[in-house]
Point group: C2
Chain length 338, copies 2
């Protein structure tokens, strides 16, 4: 690999001149002719700045870490794209990490930041992570922004408008004429579950309805959790005619389980989910979903991390624009008895 020295030798100038030109310093102070020689030499040698050299000198890597609970979760596609687009525009690179099953975020993050592999991080912790595992984060003053999660006292977060998402989903069923609407939610300790809950309740309250306590399950966001929720909800009397599911993976499981139980969707039961993804389009029937703005959240998160790195400013932000968007497919219909 060619170094600055190689380029300098070939162009017949000093190393610092080359550095100034190739790292486009604000004031490179070289003549047009010299600049050209340098640029040519660099191209001929296929010069690329050495990452370690630059990072060591500047104490900056221009890398931000993005850690999500499960990288292959379709939900995070847009989040990652948003993060990468924002990073690229600002001259940063995104380093993807999984918040490992065993050590919920803690060790990975400490390494990434402590060893100077990244300048800052955007961190989405999973539904199932105990908030206690986040303790280390808040003690460090590292530039960490939480995505769709929270920790008491931690400042710096970007979140989806979960409240509104659940509200829109519930309203959709109300408008179809449903009056017994259940809610398959995440775990009680989950930050997002809490906020989706308020949206569900508000929609019902506004319509002048109240549901029995058992109409909300708080089991979790996985496919299996969704299956369990379906069984529990459809064992109630009276049965709900519609279910709002707080997560698309859970909705996929719930739908599969309904199928298995011989419950027809949407004839016997309407299902609407918060979150859209390609999997929702490919269930049978295709799932009506409220599309959340993951792309925008990804951008905002990286923007926030970089601001924190470069200026030290922090903020807590909710992405409300664009708002969540209802995508009507075939899993919802008016209730039979209506």
């Amino acid at each position: 690999m060619a170094t600055l020295g190689d380029v300098a030798a070939r162009a017949g100038v000093s190393i610092s001149a080359v550095s100034r030109v190739l790292s486009d310093a604000p004031d490179s102070r070289v003549s047009a002719a010299t600049r050209e020689r340098i640029v040519d030499a660099a191209r001929e040698l296929n010069y690329r700045p050495n990452f370690a050299g630059r990072a060591l000198k500047s104490a900056r890597t221009q890398v931000v870490g993005l850690v999500v609970p499960d990288i292959t979760n379709a939900l995070f596609t847009e989040l990652m794209h948003g993060a990468e687009d924002e990073a690229t525009e600002r001259g940063y690179t995104v380093l993807l990490g999984r918040s490992d099953d065993v050590r919920p975020g803690g060790e990975v993050i400490a390494r990434l930041i402590g060893e100077g592999r990244v300048d800052g991080m955007a961190l989405q912790v999973g539904d199932a992570v105990q908030p206690a595992g986040l303790r280390d984060l808040i003690t460090t003053q590292a530039p960490i922004v939480l995505v769709n999660s929270s920790y008491p006292g931690h400042v710096g977060s970007v979140t989806l408008d979960d409240h509104r998402g659940a509200l829109i989903a519930t309203q959709h069923l109300l408008e179809l004429g449903h009056e017994r609407i259940a809610f398959a939610n995440g775990l009680p300790r989950s930050f997002t579950a809490k906020r989706r809950r308020t949206g569900y309740k508000l929609a019902l309250a506004t319509a002048g309805l109240r549901m029995p306590k058992e109409y909300e399950t708080r089991i979790g966001y996985t496919v299996d959790n969704g299956r369990t929720a379906l069984r529990r909800l459809m064992a109630l009397d009276p049965k709900p005619t519609g279910i709002v599911v707080a997560n698309v993976n859970a909705a996929v499981g719930l739908l599969g389980e309904a199928r298995r139980a011989g419950i027809r969707v949407p004839e016997d039961l309407s299902v609407v989910t918060v979150h859209d993804s390609w999997t929702a389009e490919n269930t049978w029937p295709p799932l009506t979903a409220v599309k959340m703005q993951f792309y925008t959240v990804g951008r905002a998160a990286v923007r926030s991390v970089i601001r924190r790195i470069e200026t030290g400013e922090t903020s807590d932000e909710v992405v409300t624009d664009p708002p969540p968007e209802l995508v009507v497919r075939e899993s919802t219909a008016p209730p039979r008895t209506a």
Copy 2:
């Protein structure tokens, strides 16, 4: 962040002594007492070796890149886990990258290697990438191992036993009594598609059967490609009674389209796919699939990259152990007329 100097000062020893102890050099040549002082000091200061400093000095990052066409594809979960497990055991870290849609691999790789961000790479190129885009790779002598892909003249690859996977899938339908078996395959230029094709053909030939040319579609591996394949195959006369799909995403689409067309699975049509993933369990009906050993391939790929980095050796490897495994679910049954 504490440096070696800080630790040395606190322990009252030289920097080099600290370095020898903390980087567990084979021969640290320090007394037990000194060693203890050093280890204590490091712990108290929460010392972590600076990544850039180490990389700059040693010209090694201990990082291998893993680039796949679409990180969020459920198929790559196991591949990544295998890669990470192998890397961890050998003291390496995995850096995840997407082989970007726009620049098919080329630029990402050149940067990662050229800037010294990684020591080597495992690269899986997508079905849709033109082999021409890989030209740069082979010219460099960089430690790159291709995963489930090939480039003429490039040495260093690890692949699934695609031939056998398709063979097993086809045999399953044959054993159920099907005699008109179609094959929804990937693009003709796709390396994996070529090998899956030989498995399909061998199974048929062994059974003494021949299918008309139109029984094989070569459209691609996406959900939409699967939908198209279904329409094309079910327009034939006579219709196939069973379809082997070369990719699980395509199978999901194909199944959805069958549903839409009013074709009952498995009563009217059996569907078996090569590749298993959680999505296959959650279609309706759940998909019979041949589970390919992605985890093992991930491990083997990283092992191969590291060997290439450390010893310069190269190899082309097919993962045959464990063999692909048939997982019977509910999308396959004997043909109606049988």
